[in-house]
């Protein structure tokens, strides 16, 4: 089942499409972060992070809390700048184009790089179907076949079977795990190139967690996934690559080690990584 997106807005013609050189929506993208630093209210919390998030792969960001994983994730889709007093430095490239370059608009970037938050945040007074379509409405794109897109997105989110008979019910009426899967479906409906997930399962029951892990594996072929997780087993189960963040006492967060998930967990080169993945601290 394919869904073609047709743009109804003439606005697209007015300004140049920022990400040239990419064929279509729905193609996985590669993210190159270089020299990324972040401040909150003048305090440096993240220092010179270099990280490549490979196309079509799942990259897990692990590390103790407070080491800047969420901050880094939010820098990738320009959500960091929403926080008052937040600053950043460095560059983040999506398929070679710096999303912080001149003329790049945050709104546009966020359409290509979706995000799922730690706390499920569907629009509670919109129906399930409306929630799925919300992102498209924001970009004034109307899908060729709405019902198809709703089914496709909810199926990818692993929620379709549970809600197919009650698409008109409110998003706020679902359970926490279902809400989170609705949020995933909502993010996927706009066909992002990258999906960022910030501890998406930390508030969920084991069954919902498994469903979401399944979803991540299934969607990896069409969207690059970057996931923050505190669950070591989860990182091993779902990710291809892994980056270990650490903020030592009174220090900003840094990437200590990054590489293939098997290597990070099996034979890390840094002692601190070894200690963390083996549950010695954090």
């Amino acid at each position: 089942m394919t869904t073609t997106l047709s743009s109804t807005s003439p606005a697209d013609a007015d300004h140049p499409t920022p990400f040239t050189g990419t064929p279509e929506l729905g193609q996985p993208g590669q993210v190159d972060a270089h020299d990324v630093c972040a401040w909150f209210g003048g305090r440096l919390v993240l220092e010179t992070v270099d990280l490549v998030m490979e196309k079509s792969k799942v990259t897990a960001l692990i590390g103790p809390s407070g080491c800047g994983k969420s901050t880094f994730l939010r820098i990738i889709n320009r959500m960091h700048e929403v926080v008052p007093g937040a600053q950043l430095a460095g560059s983040v490239k999506l398929d070679g184009v710096d999303i912080y370059g001149p003329g790049q608009r945050a709104m546009e970037t966020r359409r290509h790089i979706g995000m799922v938050f730690q706390k499920p945040n569907p629009f509670p007074a919109m129906t399930i179907a409306e929630n799925v379509l919300a992102g498209l409405k924001f970009s004034r794109v109307s899908p060729a076949d709405k019902d198809d897109l709703i089914e496709e997105s909810l199926t990818k989110g692993g929620l379709w079977n549970e809600v197919k008979d009650r698409l008109g019910e409110l998003g706020g009426a679902l359970s926490g795990g279902q809400q989170q899967r609705l949020c995933i479906a909502r993010s996927l409906a706009v066909k992002p190139r990258v999906l960022l997930m910030d501890e998406p399962c930390s508030a969920l029951d084991p069954t919902s967690t498994l469903r979401i892990e399944q979803t991540i594996k299934e969607i990896a072929s069409e969207v690059t996934v970057v996931i923050v997780t505190h669950n070591m087993q989860q990182a091993q189960r779902v990710s291809d690559y892994c980056a270990f963040f650490l903020a030592e006492e009174n220090q900003p967060g840094r990437v200590i080690e990054a590489g293939k998930t098997g290597t990070i967990f099996g034979s890390p080169t840094d002692q601190r990584t070894f200690d963390y993945v083996n549950g010695q601290f954090g």
Binding site: F117, P122, F123, P124, A134
Partner: protein, 332 residues
Amino acid sequence: MTIDLKPSPARADRDVPAPLTLTRDYSTPDRIYRAGVRISGGGVFLLLVVIGIFLAWSGYPAFQQAGWKFFTRSGFQTLGAHPTFGVLASIVGTVEVAFVAMIVGAPVAIATALFLSEYAPLKTRRSLIAMIDLAAAIPSIIFGLWAVFELQPNVVGFSTWLSHHLAFIPFFKVVSPPLNASIFIAGLVVGIMIVPIVASICREVFSLAPAGEREAALALGASRWQMIRTVVLPFGRGGMVGAVMLGLGRALEETIAVSIILGGSFTVTAHILQKGGSTISQLIAVNFGSGGTLGLHDLLLCGFVLFLLTLVINLAASAIVNRSRSGAGVDL
């Protein structure tokens, strides 16, 4: 040791037990608290009823004198052998002033609140909020004086322009100039007066819109305005209606500023741009103590009418307040 697990028999041969009646057992502090809350809550309600009864009771002699004509006549002529008085022009004037005030004040207040909560730079935001709160405390007599000496001379030109270009709307038609001391100008002052308090409440409500839902909208590629329309406004709808109704209450009862502007002629008119008109509270304030015993009864009866008017509007408002959550009724 074995545990013998018997499967429970099928539903059919078991009776469904009746629902339990749960008794609440409150602790002493809890009881005292509940009693206190009930007394003060009930007290406010009682006060409302007592005021209503008092007004109706003391206004009744005037109603005996005038009968239902009280509601179809206008004027305050209570002395002499053939008194004629009535509240019609004042009711119409009150509603017109309040209407103009809301048309002018509510959108400005809501826009101000949105600016303060969503757009104002963080550094200036605090001082702007303090200024708005301060403006809410300016006495209405100050507004009245300012309106007479500053606003009115400048607005008459605008009134003239309206009467020339929008005369096809009955409200803006002028049959007899001049255009000062009009319902329109009185409504304008009241509209300006209510902006700070309505804006202040709306800002408070908007700032409570859930951060998670705001971020959800932004992360989906919403513009700031789309985020506001999807999350902030639907969430704040109930509070917004409440704030506007509070402003409307003030607009209905505003006395001093209106009395200073309006000359107090008892003509029922839809032509709000031209001189003349009266409101209930203005009628009471201007004529208090000047109409003898009957005059006093008349004014108290007018007070009762204003009381009912406010009550009805507030009840209507509370019926409107519902479904205030993100995404409610949004059609992007």
